[in-house]
Point group: C2
Chain length 272, copies 2
């Protein structure tokens, strides 16, 4: 039996990353765990996020995973270094792949980054981008209303559109040619964001980029699945939140009804 790849997130945003991973790595088996019950992570302290992530990681390590993908920018910003040094399997975050893709895409070296308060305050993207090229101009903007909108599933409403437009106003006057969606929830509202910023801004979604780097990293660690019955992979999906809502949003993202959706509870998941 092939060992699965784990994909974790604070909620449902990481499903956009998983969707890309399943498309680009069709031979691999995935286990997804979204911590919707304690979502959003963006407004929690670093110590809280660390605790949540370790709950999830300890749960998944028992399933003999071969690779861990932190499909959440806040969790990546706060925990990736610790996880990479503590675990023996490769641990892949979304921030560096997103950053590298933006460096690839930009022509005028002006890059916008939007994310949760936690991600933006951590300056994780600025650090990665300036580490690659100190001459880049970075415009960062925290967008705290976005994740709740998406988790509530009200993105089709007029109210949602207005909130997105208003939140992005500070970026309208910049001359950015590239915008990093520094939160894995945001691809779900990518079209609305594109509309607000206009067609000249190229939007980089960390999900696609992370999927590509995962392929390369599995390869260099000799962990790629060679033979696989692609029709019976039986991917597993877990949420700490409400199962019905989870079903609904997976249907929205995958455009089909998925099997094997489950609830999971952690003992200490009594955060509110």
């Amino acid at each position: 039996m092939e060992r699965p790849i784990a994909v974790i997130d604070s909620g449902v945003g990481g499903l956009t990353v998983l969707h890309e991973l399943m498309r680009q790595l069709p031979k691999e088996k995935f286990v997804y765990l979204g911590d919707t019950y304690r979502c959003p992570y963006g407004s929690k302290t670093k110590e809280q996020v660390r605790e949540f992530v370790w709950d999830i990681v300890n749960y998944l390590l028992k399933r003999n995973i071969k690779c861990l993908i932190i499909a959440c920018n806040t969790a990546t910003a706060y925990t990736i270094k610790e996880l990479q040094s503590e675990l023996t399997i490769p641990v892949i975050g979304v921030i560096k792949p997103g950053g590298r893709a933006a460096v690839n895409v930009t022509r005028n070296k002006k890059i916008g980054v939007i994310g949760t308060e936690g991600t933006i305050q951590s300056r994780a993207y600025s650090k990665v981008l300036h580490h690659i090229d100190p001459t880049l101009n970075i415009y960062s903007l925290a967008c705290p209303p976005f994740v709740p909108l998406i988790e509530k599933g009200i993105i089709q409403e007029q109210e949602a559109k207005q909130i997105i437009t208003e939140t992005l106003i500070p970026l309208k006057d910049t001359d950015i040619d590239t915008l990093i969606l520094g939160c894995t929830h945001y691809p779900i509202i990518k079209d609305l964001i594109q509309k607000v910023l206009g067609p000249d801004v190229k939007i980089v979604s960390s999900g696609e980029e992370t999927a590509r780097e995962t392929s390369s990293i599995l390869d260099s660690f000799g962990l790629t699945t060679v033979n696989s019955d692609m029709l019976s992979l039986n991917h597993e999906f877990y949420t700490t939140g409400e199962l019905e809502k989870f079903k609904e949003i997976t249907r929205l993202i995958f455009n089909e009804n998925l099997n094997n959706l489950n609830e999971v509870k952690f003992n200490n998941a009594v955060f509110s």
Copy 2:
């Protein structure tokens, strides 16, 4: 002094990869060696290409390089496994990054690959692509006239346009939505290729993709340059061919006159 990254090619095609590398990794110092004297590699035997590549690699190893990029598809197809097992530094080829990018880009799973006879006959791209996803449809086409056209620098001529159009005829009837330029010379004639195939075919250039993977691999090996005086990197360029022609084509690719262009001869470089 930071250790340089070596970029090698059968001639000048790898300069397109180098150009991207310099843009995406502006803190790194590069040493380029193009074996124009023995170019093209595409029509040589595997044993000949192996010998040529080892000449170059042995020459560059003396310069304390920290990473080797084989910016030539034919050389990658024939030598990457051997180099990866013999050398202690990371060795990066252009085939896997190009393949992964195509899997990312395609929507209808029909991918075209063009390259030299050597690359196409080696089936290197088909193997990489089917290894990732066995359900992909691959259309491969050897384009032997392209490299000589480019190395001669006659790509602006009407004759060149006609040769390109005629060579690509077999791909016109396929339904590919993605084309891999499986030769690092081809980005120089990318616009002409795009014109022949029409705007609906997305062209993947292995150069850009290889630059991105290099960034990720340097990072995971802890080899990224942290501090660097970006203005005095003093990249070095070597050709085994004519220096004047080399100057001309670097000017075409980099849009500026580069310093530090040199000729180098290998003792056994008496191939004709």
